[in-house]
């Protein structure tokens, strides 16, 4: 179908994501969020002795079902999107990245940075494993991510979520302007 083989404008994507806030409350009476599942996976599979992991993760199994669905959705969509035209990312961003040595703009993710082979390089390990680690550590420390804080939290007028979102942004700017130029030249 055509809608699934093309990219959507922000005013389609954003409102659809926003609807997850009321839908999760109606269905589960819980808030829309994703990063709590990193803790659930630890509690379910690794069973660490630390107090942080002593809770009834089985009561939160629905969250694991939800994120498993996200992975399936990503799989389905990537298949249908394979033939889609390249996304119209700003030329200014592309030239800035090009000057930092990123040159593969053929898909949603720079293949030269996120291939299997890149995992054998220091740069790849820092960006893939290091970046992932910071996402897991930071979201648990902040008690929420873009979903739980930036969307659900701000939509329900919570001060903590406004602070969290500003800090996500500060971290992102530090990473973009101070760390990325250094890491990309590793």
């Amino acid at each position: 179908m055509d809608i699934f083989s093309s990219f959507w404008p922000w005013y389609v994507t954003g409102p659809l994501i926003g609807l997850y806030v009321p839908v999760m409350y109606i269905l589960m009476n819980r808030h829309f969020g994703v990063s709590s599942t990193f803790r659930d996976i630890c509690a379910a599979l690794i069973r660490p002795a630390a107090r942080y992991f002593q809770y009834d993760w089985k009561a939160q199994r629905w969250r694991l079902v939800f994120v498993a669905g996200i992975a399936v959705g990503g799989f389905l969509a990537s298949g249908t999107l394979r033939t889609a035209p390249q996304a119209q990312v700003s030329a200014h961003t592309l030239s800035a990245l090009s000057s930092l040595g990123v040159n593969d703009f053929s898909s949603l993710v720079p293949a030269d940075l996120f291939s299997w082979k890149s995992l054998l390089t220091l740069r790849g390990i820092v960006m893939i494993a290091g970046g992932g680690f910071l996402v897991g550590f930071g979201t648990r420390y902040a008690e929420g991510c873009t979903a739980g804080h930036s969307i659900h939290g701000i939509a329900t007028f919570q001060r903590a979520s406004v602070v969290a979102t500003l800090c996500f942004f500060i971290g992102g700017l530090i990473s973009t302007y101070l760390l990325l130029p250094f890491i990309l030249h590793m």
């Binding site: 926003g18 994703v34 961003t93 720079p110 992932g132 910071l134 873009t146 992102g172 700017l173 973009t176």
Partner: protein, 136 residues
Amino acid sequence: MVYFIVMLLGVLFGIILTNGEVISWFRIQEMFRFDAFHMYGVIGSAIAVGALSMLLLKRLGARSIRGEPIAVETKRLQKGTAIGGIIFGVGWVLTGACPGPLYALAGSGYPAFFIALLSAVGGALAYGLIRDKLPH
């Protein structure tokens, strides 16, 4: 039955994140370089629709499907909200993915993101292990 609906919502969410280019490393770069409105539009309109629909549910006195009154969960403000927030922001730019997109990318045929997802679980594990020593 509820699990089935949650699964379908998850699948749909993965499709939304992919077709909406939220999983795009380039779109995240573009946002942090202030070069386009796309991601601001996505996040801003998501917040607006979320807020309006929650106000509407409140106005209607809506209940969950199990008949409970809807109880909005509060996010507490603590030192980690800021420190953890900055740490997450740094990682968000490196992987180009926040947690939702991390799951979508892990499923979408970019195998390196499976490692990124495992690393995120490792990050949560590390946090849980040293939690008592961190300022909150």
